[in-house]
Structures are given as C-alpha cells and as structure tokens.
Symmetry: C2
Subunit: 404 residues, 2 copies
C-alpha cells in the first residue's frame, strides 16, 4: 500500500547519522564517530551485585512505577548535586528520563510550536538538530568562540528574532569541546533572564573533567547553579550514560516545577516511564559500599585524559600540520579544523574506504560553516584502536593534501 | 519567569489520569483503576539468575546498542510468533520500544499530521486518546458491539472522512474487553485494505486468554496474521509488560519495513534506544532452561481467570442488579454499565472517599457515551484486596441507588 507519512517525518530519514551507525556495526570497523564510553571501564561486577540484591529483595522492582521516576534516585541526585555542584534543587524538581536525548525531546515537545525560534550553539550536536527539525522549530545558530557563546551576538539575535529558547552545553559543548568561561556563563544567563528566554543546559559530559590536583583549575559552576532560584530560567539535563553505563538509559531534566510537571505529563504519554528496574539498580549501586561514584569518575577521567593525550600526540605528526584544534579540558571529543579546502565529508568517504570513521562537521550545523571540520571521539576506542584509527585517517588526509 | 508552552501541551495537563495516579500512591488505597499485572506472579528469581549471567558474561550488555533493539530478541520474537501465532514476520520488520505506549506514540509522530483523521474504537484507552490529542489528530470514534467494530459503520466513516489510520485492539479491547469475532476481523481488514487505511493492531493483552482445555475455543488469529503479506496494512504492537514484567519496559512494533525504518529513525531521535540491558535480560530469560514462557503465561491465565470469576461473583449481589456487563474471555478489565442515571465520575468521587478507585468511562471516550460505565481491573488486586475494593464500591453504588 501507499504509506502517507507525516509532513516532517521525512526529515528523519535524511539524517546521515543513520548510515554511519549502520557501518559501525561491522566488527572490523574503527569508529571515532560515536558518543560511546569505554566498555572496559564499566562497573560490571558491582552492577551484578546490585542486581542480585535488588531482584532478590523487592517484587516492586519489576512493576510499573511513577512517571517522574524512582523517588529515592531523584533524592540521591538532589543530594549529589548539592554536595558536588553547589546546586540546590529538590527531588520534585527532577524528572528521570531515558537518557539526555529524551529529556531534550520531551522539553521540545511541550515548549516549541512549529515556527518558534530557537537558539543553538554553532556548531551543535546532530541529535539536538534532529529533535528541533522534527518539531518544526526555526533554528537560529549563535556565534561562539573558545570561551563560549559571544554575548553581543546573542543579544543581537534575541532582539532580532525574539526566540523562546536557548539550548547550550557550557561544559564541553558537543562537538567543539569548548568550556565556557565563568564570565560568559554569567553574561549569557543575565541576557536570557532579561529577555525571558528559557535556557536548556545540557551537562551530559560535564563530569568528564580531566585536570586533577590542587593547583589545577576547578570545575566551573553550571548555569543553573548561578541562578538565584535554581531552575527558574534554566532546565538542567544530563545522564548517567557517560559516568556509569548507557544501557541503564537513565538521564534527567531538573528545573521549575511547572516545566517538570508538563514534561512528566508528556513523558507519561510517550512511554509511561523509564525502566524502574534500571533506576533501582542504579540507586542501589550508588548507595552501596562496594562502589564509590567519585572514585569511579576520577578513574574514568584519568583514562580518558590519557587517551586524549595520545590523540593529541598523533595530531602532531607532519600530515596534520595545517589543521587547527584546541585541546579540551574534558568531554569526549576533539574538534579539528582541516587544512583549507579539505572537506570533512570528502575525507570521511575516503576514510571509510580504509575502515575508519569520524563525525563530519556538516552534521553539526544547519549551515555550512563546519564543513571543513571533523569531530574525533577519544573515549571509546582503546589505545591500540585509537592509534590505528588515527593512522588510517592520516593516510586519507595525506592522499588529499599530497595532490595539492 | 513566564513560561510559554507549546499550544497543544495544555491538553496533557487536563488528563484526569494524572490525579488518579497520584492517589494510587497512598499505601492504604485500593486501585481497580490501573493497568497493572500482579507483582506476586513476576518471575523474580529467574530474572535474578538471568541478570547474574548477563552481567557477568558480556560488557556490551551495559553499552549503547542499536536503535531498533537487541537483534537476538527480535529474532526470538519472530520465531515465537511463527510458533504460537502462525505469524510470519522477519526480525528486521520488528522495532523494540519502551512498551506498547511508546510504539503508539512513535507511529503517531511519524504518520499523523495535525488535523489528520484517525479512527479509534469507542470507547478506547485513555493513553491512546492522549497520544492522538497531543499530535493534533482529528479523532473519529467507530461504533462497535460485542463482536468488535461494526463493518457498516466503519465503511460509512471511511467514506465520509477519508481517515488515514485505524487504531484497534481486537484481542480484549481496552476498556471493554471485547474479543472481535473472526468474521469481523476479516471484514475490517478487507475494508481497510480496500480504502488504503493503515491499521494499528494493539495486542498488548492478547496472551491473557483464560479458556483452557481441548474443547474450549481457540485463540483467534490477529489481523496481521490474516494479511497476505503480514505487515503491509497492519502494524502490530504489544509488549512483555503483562506477560513477564513492566519494569523491563520492552514492547514492539512489527510491520512493513518502510514504516519500521521511519519509526526507528524517530525512536533514535526520541531516546536513541530502549535499555539494551533489559532486552538482554529478557532474551536470556526466554532462552533459559529455568523459565518456560508458555507455562508462565498459562499460570498467569489460571490466576487471572480466578480473579475475574471472583469479581463476577461479587457483581451478582443485589446492589449491582441493574448493571450490565459481559464477562470477557481474557485481558485485564471488566467493563460495567451502571444503573441508568448513575454517572461514573460521580461514583468515582464517592468511592475515592472510601479509599478505592476504578477508571470512569468518561476517560475512555472523546464523547460522553461512556459516562455511565466504569472499568474494573481484576489482575492487580489480590483476592482479599479485590473483595474489599468491590465491597467499598458497592457501598458507594448503594448510596446513590438507595436515594432513588
């Protein structure tokens, strides 16, 4: 029969992310394209122990639960943020979601009408662009530099377009890895409050912060914790996917009760609730005496910091000499501007023939400003794989640059 | 600040389902309103054993997986349907979702534009009505009787409105518990094929079928298995929530590749994927030698059949004498028409004062045809709770009828 899909549904099928994912399924393929944590660092045995306790203690762990998520885990988050991030929100300001991606999708579903103007960083994450396109948002990219969004540009766009929303990731923006300065954080927050914009602050990878030791820079406060009433102007989203394990599919949105209630209602309609079993497993793990969350994150940061150093070493080779990049202090990605005239999509095509992929900049922007950039993931590939993958990309770069 | 939500988002907050759920959280409260399986029948120790194996064997069980869901579980479903339901669909025609509700939401997001006309059974499930309202669908209820949708009414509505979709649950329609006859199934399928409508067949509770023994009626074929090319005109949705456990949040949509691909794309955008850990647990359980799915379903059906009998016995008391109901052959609900003039919402209000709730018919219809009906759940309350709950509702009924 002839299927007649909804008008904007076709935007979904055009996403080149889909074919990248298909390719990455091949075992021999090296992917520096994805947003995956290292599976060899998962707390597997601790989770097995947690599962044993949870499944042998309470039948309700297999039952339906509340749309807003498992209460004790929301309490735990509230305490954890107060302790580690000087962020004060109560547990009833928190909705648990199926990862950060669902938090973004739910917010956009309840807050954005087709044609509404929405500001995003430029470049930004492909997953966010997809959510906004399906909802029919009018996407407006905001200029940024190595300290974050540029306040003058932001103010100009706000005045010109009256947007209702700014979506941003001040801690290691995806894909650029930029860490916003404290001044920028304060100034962007001030502007958004003054003009009545809601900010969605994506802190999915904020805990992946590599500097360690007393004399090194401290982590910067999130936008929400800079607010007088945390949550009034900022919705804070993130997940345990990068710090514990993605398969638990546990993320959150935290903010004003009015927004959280509305998101809870759409969450209930979308899938009733995320897995109570997973939320209980996670809560049991975090409260157990055989797992220390802080130590676990430190361990991840030591290892990911080492992998990043290796990648940066490899970029010092001659073949990369006309590229430009800034080494991020954390996150999962290195954002590289290729030598002038070398297109990320073209390089990707050549690289894939060699058995390696990365994310081309074109997928991270609604314009073509990022076409000469590529995003390299350093958290998932082990050191050997990273070395091999970078060698194969180097070969591909050489084939282009040697011709000129 | 002043939040400006999307225009249709307010429809979410109006749902009275939300306040019912709030009340049901109180421990002393008896709920015959919800769609919950009995937790005392969950295969808890078998799942604990499965968790132990899965978490101790493969680190990938905690990693991101494929948007379409865990391959071996999709294979398992394809085989199970072929064996138990004479339904032939391949695993690449199956998308795993976070329960049936998400399957419905994803389909509606990719198939329905605001203003599109959509046919539903009347009455139908509150969760489905919510999904359609948020998408802005024009909802058109189709008349039915105790054998299912009435073909003449269906044809008349198709000709008058040119709808693009029919959503139906031929196996124990929620809330009425109606089991469509074979003739009706064939006729409805024929009409929809002739007029180019896609059918969404919700089989969430089809396996909860109580008649047992050689001389009793056999389960009827699903609409999709009556198709020449299964999946071409029917999207088949359902879940393991009622047959294994809801907290695993594992459901499916099965149909034509074009639709499944589109739904997979929107699934990826909505939450990347459902929990791989849960899907692996479930697959391990279903393939294990310590759990037999068929036996488990039979055990559920014996117990649920007994609870239904008890409920029906209680309805034979004098206070219920002017009510009307048909005893279903399966499912989770008994649908009761109250004595003339007694409104379901008013009865609910009185019942809640006594500490018990049910679902009022008003929530199951976009019109007011079902206002004098109530939906009683018999699967979740244990036998004592069921007895007490029914006594309390009887008291409330008596207070109304005694006055007349």
């Amino acid at each position: 029969m002839q299927y007649s899909f909804a008008s904007r549904a076709q935007t979904l099928m055009l996403s080149p992310l889909r074919s990248l994912k298909e390719l990455a399924k091949r075992d021999s393929f090296i992917s520096l394209a994805e947003e995956l944590p290292a599976e060899e660092l998962f707390p597997l045995s601790s989770l097995a122990e947690a599962a044993d306790s949870v499944l042998n203690s309470d039948r309700r762990s297999l039952q339906y639960g509340e749309a807003e998520g498992y209460g004790p885990l929301r309490e735990w988050l509230s305490c954890d943020w107060s302790r580690r991030k000087q962020l004060k929100v109560s547990s009833d300001q928190i909705l648990l979601t199926t990862g950060t991606q669902q938090a973004l999708d739910l917010l956009v579903r309840v807050y954005v009408d087709p044609g509404d103007r929405v500001l995003v960083e430029n470049p930004t994450s492909p997953g966010l662009l997809q959510v906004l396109r399906l909802q029919g948002a009018h996407i407006i990219p905001v200029e940024g530099d190595s300290s974050g969004i540029i306040p003058d540009s932001l103010e100009r766009l706000i005045k010109a377009h009256q947007p209702k929303l700014l979506l941003a990731a001040p801690n290691f923006t995806n894909p650029t890895g930029v860490l916003w300065s404290l001044e920028r954080r304060k100034e962007v927050l001030r502007l958004c409050i003054a003009h009545g914009l809601l900010i969605v602050e994506d802190d999915s990878v904020g805990d992946l912060y590599f500097p360690q030791g007393a004399n090194l820079p401290k982590q910067l406060p999130s936008l929400i914790s800079l607010e007088e009433n945390p949550g009034e102007h900022v919705l804070y989203v993130g997940s345990f996917s990068k710090t514990v394990a993605p398969a638990l599919r546990t993320g959150w949105a935290a903010g004003h009760r009015k927004i959280i209630e509305m998101m809870t209602a759409v969450k209930q309609m979308a899938d009733w609730q995320s897995s109570m079993l997973n939320q209980r497993l996670l809560h049991h793990l975090l409260e157990s005496n055989y797992f220390n969350y802080d130590d676990h994150i430190q361990m991840l940061n030591r290892e990911y910091g080492t992998r990043l150093k290796l990648m940066v070493e490899l970029l010092k080779r001659n073949v990369w000499k006309d590229t430009a990049y800034e080494v991020p202090l954390g996150g999962m990605f290195l954002w590289v501007r290729l030598p002038a005239g070398l297109n990320g999509d073209a390089l990707l095509k050549r690289s894939m023939q060699k058995g390696v992929q990365f994310l081309p900049g074109s997928m991270c922007s609604s314009g073509d400003e990022a076409n000469e950039c590529i995003r390299l993931n350093f958290t998932h590939p082990g050191r050997d794989e990273l070395l091999l993958g970078m060698n194969l990309i180097s070969e591909a770069v050489l084939e282009f640059t040697a011709r000129n």
